[in-house]
Symmetry: C2
Subunit: 522 residues, 2 copies
């Protein structure tokens, strides 16, 4: 499989000349410093990694079409990204070094907000901060959903199956209606967007015929240029809560009690369950607690856990709605979870129509207000040189499964000499366990150990029945290898579609292990 763009230098030069004519000086750069901003921010310090080529920034759908025309003509691959964050999974960097960066940052318009039906239509360069500012400045009464770091693209996050922490926190689920430029330049609108003048494109998720939206997520079949995203009316009452657990093994007990509360909607948002090391990393760097080599010892973790407000696990979650219903939900949650021996549970209560200026980032994000405060978590090792890889597995909400993935990730990271910093994000029926594999990017050996540990965990987890829901560039192929049922029927089907909708293989080759024909050895 090819890892480096193999178009001849003359073709690349000719393509860049034509692209410059289309995009102008604002829309194309080959400046080394600017291109370097599109590297993986946590790349190993030495050696060649996933290297971006020239950066293209179209400003319109028509320019995207023109860019694709040129890329087809010269067979120069493009790697699409929205804002280009995606930290922990390779950032904006391409799987195939030298690919042109198709950055959507300049397509950053909020095209429409419907106050009644509560949705926004956005371009892929719109960040969570951008939409929030738009809602504020327009006097909207609607809330949005945001992930912990609000700098990313709303579209990019949804396409990567990302999450936020209001009741609309499943961002794949909260999208409704997309516009996609296909490799052949066709502009496809999904669902009811196929009508010339649709009334319900952003409220009903299907059209008549197959529902195509999922096809354009975590894939390389088109370039998404518009997306509807659902918002919510401000709730009368907003009640963020914290649960702390005293013992590591309380996790299993708690998950068994949490599952029914998620299934019946008593807790309507996506709670996050955070281990002691991860919680500490929001406030301190590692050397505040421990300066030794090897994984942080159990007695130090216990000391962190004993800090007021901490525990071996803490869970943030929130309730939303009519005050009397929220108060009853508080009782039910307290009875179910607060009664675990040694647990504490606390709540704050706010008028959803008149929120204060939250300083606490957890209170912000669960109210759909963007923040970047939790970026500090990646500075556990190495301070400003700190980095992380997301090792992110899906499991059922059971004590058995939550305990198993925790043990697996902890043991493998400890074997690699690394600390275990981990969170569970809780959905309606499933957990995403994110091993925040933290390391010092200035430490060559530790960086290599971190990437190696992830590759090992991909295979160990798959053998136990746990698949990654998202993946860093460095192990996308390995993750795809694990999806081997039916002699790799998933990958074969995806590549069959790839070959017919993008025959020149110009769109994000290698994304999620999907390679165009010219790059494959099959």
């Amino acid at each position: 499989m090819l890892d480096v763009m193999d178009a001849p230098a003359a073709a690349i030069d000719a393509a860049l000349k034509e692209l410059g004519d289309i995009l102008g000086t604002d829309g194309l750069t080959v400046d080394e410093g600017k291109v370097a901003e599109f590297r993986d921010p946590f790349a190993p310090p030495t050696g060649r990694w996933y290297e971006p080529g020239a950066v293209l920034m179209p400003a319109s759908v028509e320019q995207v079409q023109e860019v694709l025309r040129v890329a087809n003509a010269y067979k120069t691959p493009l790697w699409t990204n929205g804002q280009g964050r995606n930290n922990g999974y390779g950032g904006p960097a391409p799987r195939v070094s030298g690919s042109f960066m198709l950055s959507m940052r300049r397509m950053n318009r909020v095209l429409e907000v419907d106050e009644d039906s509560a949705w926004a239509l956005v371009e892929p360069g719109v960040s969570f901060f951008d939409l929030h500012a738009h809602l504020k400045s327009s006097g909207s009464k609607l809330w949005m959903s945001v992930p912990d770091l609000g700098w990313g693209s709303i579209v990019g996050n949804a396409l990567e199956h990302g999450v936020g922490y209001t009741p609309l926190g499943d961002h794949f689920d909260a999208k409704c209606g997309m516009e996609v430029v296909l490799a052949n330049g066709d502009v496809l609108r999904t669902g009811l967007g196929g009508l010339e003048n649709p009334r319900a494109w952003h409220v009903y998720k299907h059209g008549c015929g197959p529902t195509l939206d999922g096809l354009f997520t975590q894939s390389n079949f088109g370039v998404v240029t518009k997306m509807g995203t659902w918002l919510m009316p401000a709730p009368d009452c907003y009640m963020p809560g914290w649960l702390t657990l005293k013992n590591d093994s309380d996790l299993e007990v708690m998950l068994e009690r949490l599952r029914p509360l998620m299934m019946n909607g008593t807790i309507p948002n996506q709670p996050m369950i955070i281990n002691a090391v991860c919680a500490a990393s929001a406030f301190w760097q590692r050397d505040h607690w421990y300066t030794g080599d090897g994984p942080i010892p159990e007695d130090v973790i216990e000391r962190i856990a004993e800090t007021p407000g901490f525990g071996r696990w803490v869970m943030r979650f929130a309730l939303y709605g009519d005050e009397r219903i929220v108060e009853r939900q508080r009782e039910i949650v307290s009875d179910a979870l607060g009664t675990i021996p040694g647990a504490t549970i606390t709540f704050d209560k706010f008028d959803g129509h008149d929120l204060p200026e939250f300083e606490n980032p957890h209170q912000r994000v669960q109210a759909g207000i963007p923040s970047v405060a939790l970026d500090s978590m990646t500075r556990w090792y190495g301070g400003e040189n700190g980095g992380h890889i997301g090792f992110s597995s899906a499991t059922p909400i059971t004590g058995r499964d939550g305990g198993a993935i925790r043990d697996l990730v902890r043991d493998q990271l400890h074997a690699a000499g690394l600390d275990y910093s981990g969170v569970f994000i809780v959905g309606k029926r499933s957990l995403i366990h994110v091993g925040l594999v933290v390391f010092d990017t200035a430490d060559d050996a530790q960086t290599r150990a971190a990437y190696a540990a992830c590759r090992t965990m991909v295979e160990t987890a798959a053998r136990q029945g746990y698949g990654e829901y998202r993946s860093h560039l460095d192990f996308m192929d390995l993750v795809a290898d694990q999806y081997s049922f039916g002699d790799h029927a998933q990958r074969r089907f995806a590549e069959t579609i790839k070959d017919c909708v993008d025959p020149n293989g110009i769109l994000s080759p290698g994304k999620q292990g999907i390679w165009p024909k010219a790059y494959r050895t099959d």
Copy 2:
């Protein structure tokens, strides 16, 4: 475009011989009477309609693979159906007359029920009645979701974007994890089912890579052989409710008040709003009220509406969960909707863990208990010869849109001399308006008028921005024509995929306007 299978008679004979060897006498029939059971039950009385060919009933995934191999060899098209209900949309009948019926009725096993995470894995021949019986006999504490007529296939219903009436009533949304046999015989499992031994296939909706499930709904890209479907723990309290509205124009007022209750989950199921004629059709045939020609007059509709328990519109809905929360939701709903002048609102309350034997079909289906009682609605005209076509449009939940689609459908049906029997099914952000176009199948002129009215409405509705979410065979192409954005980019994209995943065009040619290359004139 070809409407009749054009394989040579010798090829058909040879194919049937091989298929007989594979399927045995239980699995293949050409008996005229049995084949006729697969006709559209509401076909016009004279002339050629959409005519089924031989009926194939595989009993295993391997037999499905073998059937596809033979169909590819002889280029004999198959029309897949689950239980073969789909009443109002052509029943089991094929778009291309003479297509072999690929009936999944014999693949009717409930493969697994997970009591903890609340899901079932079913084959496509499992009906709602079948799963309900399975849950009952196994002592399960879980509830399922059912449509008004419980005889259909759970898989088939979800693939057609069908609905039920519990909080899991969006059946597309409630599915999780599919197995699909592709035209080339590959067995594809979606999402985490790509792992060899997945723990979370039926609780997390994605894998790593594109989410493919939507591609296999309302389409002809594969044969679904397994599907996970979410169930729910029985709620402590089950409270079905009825709202009646005195005036036709109260609909608009009510929709404006209902929308926020749907968006914030105060009403968690999918309410159904029923007009007076439709409500009457559950209890009486038309001649009980009126025997004249032409549409039933306004004064007769008023008399129906004045019947105790009736109104110009009635809405059924239900609340589920903790009793105190449900009681508070009752208050909120009553304050918002019961205060419309002339409205009445009533509730019943049941212990969700110990339901009585409901006689009322509305109380049954909103508790996930299958029924076929409402089949009587199609007997409004013509009694046992009664039929209906579903004319089913998606709109936002607004007075403007609900009123517009009501006016459009009513006026066009009246112009065709037909009564207007209509319901709205209310989702989280959208309405599906179903014009139940009822007619007497023994009345040639009326039957033809009904089909003609639907074809006219497809175009009128599209001009106003309303698209069909599902369609009868007779106007599938016309509906697809309306999805014309980007010079019909949706259809072109679907047909591009069709040509590469089913190059011989054997799977359900013409389904939702998607035609294989050999049938197209492009």
